[in-house]
């Protein structure tokens, strides 16, 4: 067993353990920390696949940003409404369907039906992030998308803050 396989097994263990903590933990806050473990594991997968920019983005955005948002979202829920009062069958059916679809899809992908090759691409020698940066700034490639992303973020910022403020005023 080479080092890469060993690393993969280690990261897979971390990811699965984090997901199981997220699912089975009794406290919602513990679930969030389990989710942090799982997301860090996913970042590890990106590293193994040679996608350094994705790995860094995963950590900066998901572990650093989205999880903080989840934590505040949980802290904002009133304690008396913390219990899940959705029926268990409704609560479980949607994730079950999503999980079944994922399982079928990944099984077919492993057979090589949907993906061109079973083998992973070799890790790039140079940093991938250089290529990403160059394609962002090249006007023949993704420059417009790059600037539009800024506009999109602006719209999201204004919209999200507006909705949050309205809810705040309603709760007052």
């Amino acid at each position: 067993m080479d080092t890469l396989t060993l690393m993969f097994l280690l990261i897979a263990t971390i990811t699965i353990a984090g997901s199981l903590i997220t699912l089975w933990s009794k406290y919602v806050v513990h679930s969030v920390f389990g989710l942090m473990l799982a997301l860090l594991g996913v970042a590890g997968f990106y590293v193994l696949l040679g996608a350094d920019f994705l790995a860094v983005t995963q950590i900066v955005v998901y572990v650093g940003g989205v999880l903080v948002l989840y934590l505040f979202g949980i802290m904002l829920t009133p304690p008396d409404r913390a219990e899940r009062n959705v029926k268990l069958i409704v609560f479980c059916s949607l994730p079950a369907v999503a999980g079944a679809m994922y399982l079928i899809g990944s099984a077919r992908a492993m057979e090589g039906k949907w993906l061109p090759g079973k083998e992973l691409p070799p890790p790039p020698g140079k940093h991938l992030i250089h290529q990403v940066g160059h394609s962002f700034l090249d006007k023949d490639q993704y420059l417009l998308a790059f600037e539009l992303a800024s506009v999109l973020l602006l719209v999201v910022l204004v919209g999200a803050v507006y909705i949050a403020r309205r809810r705040w005023e309603a709760s007052e």
Binding site: V60, V61, L137, S150, R165
Partner: protein, 168 residues
């Protein structure tokens, strides 16, 4: 590329190891005599009561939302920061445009008061955290008046005592 992330992994493992190995060593050699007072949440502070699950202020959430947006901005600027040196002036201008568009958003939330902690969101209506200046002045006046009346009462008692002594 793996080599760079190996550096990260070594640093992370070193940090984790520094914490947990030390905790393990000290848990082996320290004496263990727990008591009820020692195990309380704040040993020499106020006694904790109620659940720690209190409902947080909505403002935390909107600040977290704003943080997330600028976090994403950092994620976009990261490849730009690696590449812009090779591409000359035009790349700098492109990055500047990106930042300026989001700067409009920052100005918006700033002006609308979403970054203010004390003020309410709605129409500059401030949440009062304490008494206003007028109420404070009135409170002070009442205290002064009370002190004056107490002092005068004390004086009449003393005068009365001294007069009775004189007659005796």
């Amino acid at each position: 590329m793996y080599y760079d992330f190996l550096n990260v992994a070594v640093l992370a493992l070193g940090g984790l190891g520094f914490v947990y190995v030390n905790l393990l060593i000290f848990s082996l050699i320290r004496p263990n005599k727990p008591s009820k007072l020692k195990l309380s949440t704040y040993e020499c502070g106020m006694e904790a009561f109620g659940s720690s699950w209190v409902r947080f202020d909505m403002r935390f959430y909107s600040v977290a939302l704003i943080f997330l947006i600028f976090d994403l901005e950092i994620a976009f600027l990261f490849p730009w920061s690696v590449a812009f040196r090779d591409l000359g002036m035009i790349a700098r201008v492109e990055g500047l445009i990106f930042i300026l568009i989001l700067f409009v958003g920052l100005i918006y939330v700033w002006v609308r008061g979403d970054l203010d902690w004390v003020k309410s969101f709605s129409q500059g209506r401030a949440i009062r955290l304490g008494p206003t200046a007028e109420e404070e002045a009135m409170l002070l006046r009442m205290q002064v008046e009370q002190a004056l009346s107490e002092a005068s009462a004390l004086r009449t008692v003393e005068e009365g005592e001294s007069s009775t002594e004189a007659t005796v």
